[in-house]
Symmetry: C2
Subunit: 360 residues, 2 copies
DNA sequence: TTGAAAGCGCTAACAT
DNA sequence: ATGTTAGCGCTTTCAA
């Protein structure tokens, strides 16, 4: 069915003529509306086949007021207004750095995967947007207002991200990954991070570790804080109120240097909880550089169960965050908001699960 | 300008009435067509402000026949037709695995960054699509035919990827990352991989390395093959016709095991060229586990200059592939094809550049 | 069950 | 320089 690029694409009209019926009937067949004579359905379907017809999305959107597209936005904090930004906005450098940071963690890939998994069977598609500056955020809003996308799935990389509030204020359908720092009338999907921290502590303790330390995530991020809280609570409940802690930045390098510091102050440590797998990998590397065997000398527990948990050696024992499922749930909620079958903001909190492998 | 979600969005008509002019005039102002009296322009702009008007994208697309969207497709090989696929197509597992693999390398993030960098100022947006199965590929084609996207930017992860040929056959605007295995009438952007391999060899040699080995990429990938060829040629030209080689899979783990093998057979090696940074990182880790210092005992050169090149320790000396620039160029070419100002398939080949850091 | 016709909101050719 | 008008391709009442 190779068609030259010159010929106009066939329209409903063409199919209707070919089938000897009206536009309306063809439309009904395509959209699966009942009340169409089976024999006519066949007729139409054959005509569609013959003409190589594909519905025009713009025309359909115009009348249905649905684009079949959702914005998948990765949102930073950036300048919250047009303050002090050199004309022209954010530099390519900054933008690259931001993007690089986002993609450095396998986390985002898992989000994409989960989102696409839900969207694809419904003929919906994600358009990727970065909102690391006030300018970029305005663009996201305008994109949604234009009806270019029916709603937004937003993953904030910073607790002070102003985008959720802006979205809510305009009444635009949106679902967040993680509960926003300040209350916003939007649905979100989250993980019970506290419980994850607790599971890590319990496992290390049950394993017989006595001198446990932790490499926390950035403490201005609620998720990090909660993982740490849960971890500490569990430790305290078992009679260990004090746990040495180093703060990392969720990166491999920060995990390494945090571990180096911890090792210097507590050379006899025998257990580490790292608040994500990337840092856990850094922790393992640093431990090995110091001649410690894992898990014989030091047990390491990570968080996330990202792909690196298994590519890392030894394979990481880690607290699984079901990111794909969470992302799919975001898409599901958003779809319901868009369809209007769900109107109130909702929250769905997932439970983490300890995955035991070789590192602890 | 908070608007309840109940009120209909204002249309051109509303603005026109508010400003006391015709729809056409408002449209002209919005689209920056000359021949509009400055005073009226102001009038209109104020009316737009007051009404909070935003143009409806679907309506605009319908008449301009432009969606302002391009498909950014990551394409695998997968089943090339409906052979032996269990009903329902590819499993969620497979899809996740595919996505995970794609995002494990910082490469894709750089592509996204470069693409967005070019698209954003032009008010265009990328929609993310995966085409790892025949089904998914059909969907990409249909998406483009529907006019949902004006063209496709495709990054193939496999040399036998059938998508480019399908795109070309339908005359759909598309630009590829890397020259396709078999000739296809599409524009592409590529790197002079041979020259990159050459630069790596020359640097290692100039440094005084005598027992050089290499960890190649998957040899069914043209880029890997070319990097290797260039590397070997340069070595041969300097009187070293034989270079021990191990084939990796562009992953960290494969870099480690390739290095382990090489080390076992050539314990006296003093220089390594790894065909990408991820493998180079694996190489470094393995070398360190074997007590080799980098670069004192063994010099290591990577390829790509991805973010890990600098997060890795020691920082990687590597052959830079300007992925962001290449991706932006893809976007530029595609845009020209879409606008019709470029009709013939074109190729743009970038030059790699050796970035000297600490590892060699 | 099918068809006729009225738009959806916009741009562009044409008329003024 | 501005307004009038005719669609773009589709869905969806409303009649038949």
């Amino acid at each position: 069915m190779v068609r030259g690029m010159n010929r106009q694409a066939p329209t409903l009209e063409d199919v209707a003529r070919e089938a000897g019926v009206s536009r309306a009937t063809v439309s009904r067949v395509i959209n699966g509306v009942r009340n169409v004579d089976p024999s006519i359905q066949d007729l139409v379907r054959r005509a569609i086949e013959r003409t190589g017809y594909t519905p025009n999305r713009a025309a359909r959107s115009l009348v249905t007021r649905r684009s079949g597209t959702v914005a998948l936005v990765v949102s930073g904090a950036g300048d919250s207004s047009a303050d002090g930004v050199p004309a022209g906005g954010v530099s390519a450098q900054d933008q690259n750095a931001f993007t690089a940071r986002v993609f450095a963690d396998p986390f985002f890939g898992r989000v994409v995967s989960g989102v696409i998994g839900h969207l694809r069977p419904r003929c919906m598609h994600p358009v990727l947007m970065f909102a690391e500056s006030a300018e970029a955020r305005a663009e996201v809003l305008s994109y949604l207002r234009q009806g270019s996308a029916d709603g937004a799935l937003v993953v904030s990389t910073h607790p002070e991200d102003p985008l959720p509030a802006l979205l809510a204020a305009e009444g635009l359908p949106a679902v967040l990954f993680a509960r926003p720092a300040r209350p916003v009338a939007l649905s979100y999907v989250d993980l019970d991070h506290r419980d994850g921290g607790r599971q890590a502590a319990d496992h290390l303790l049950a394993r017989g570790c006595r001198r446990i330390v932790t490499v926390a995530g950035p403490l201005d991020v609620r998720a990090s804080q909660n993982r740490l809280d849960g971890f500490r609570d569990a430790m305290a409940r078992q009679g260990r109120p004090y746990v040495p802690i180093a703060e990392g930045g969720f990166t491999l390098a920060s995990g390494m240097s945090a571990m180096a510091g911890l090792l210097a102050e507590h050379p006899d440590l025998d257990g580490v909880f790292a608040a994500n797998d990337l840092m856990a990998q850094g922790v393992c590397q640093m431990l090995r550089e110091h001649g410690r065997r894992i898990p014989e000398d030091v047990a390491v527990v990570g968080f996330d169960d990202s792909t690196i948990a298994v590519t890392c050696s030894p394979q990481l024992t880690t607290v699984r965050q079901p990111v794909e499922d969470m992302a799919a749930e975001m898409a599901r909620l958003l779809e319901e908001h868009i369809r209007g079958v769900r109107t109130e903001p909702t929250s769905v909190v997932f439970d983490p699960e300890l995955i035991v492998r070789d590192s602890a």
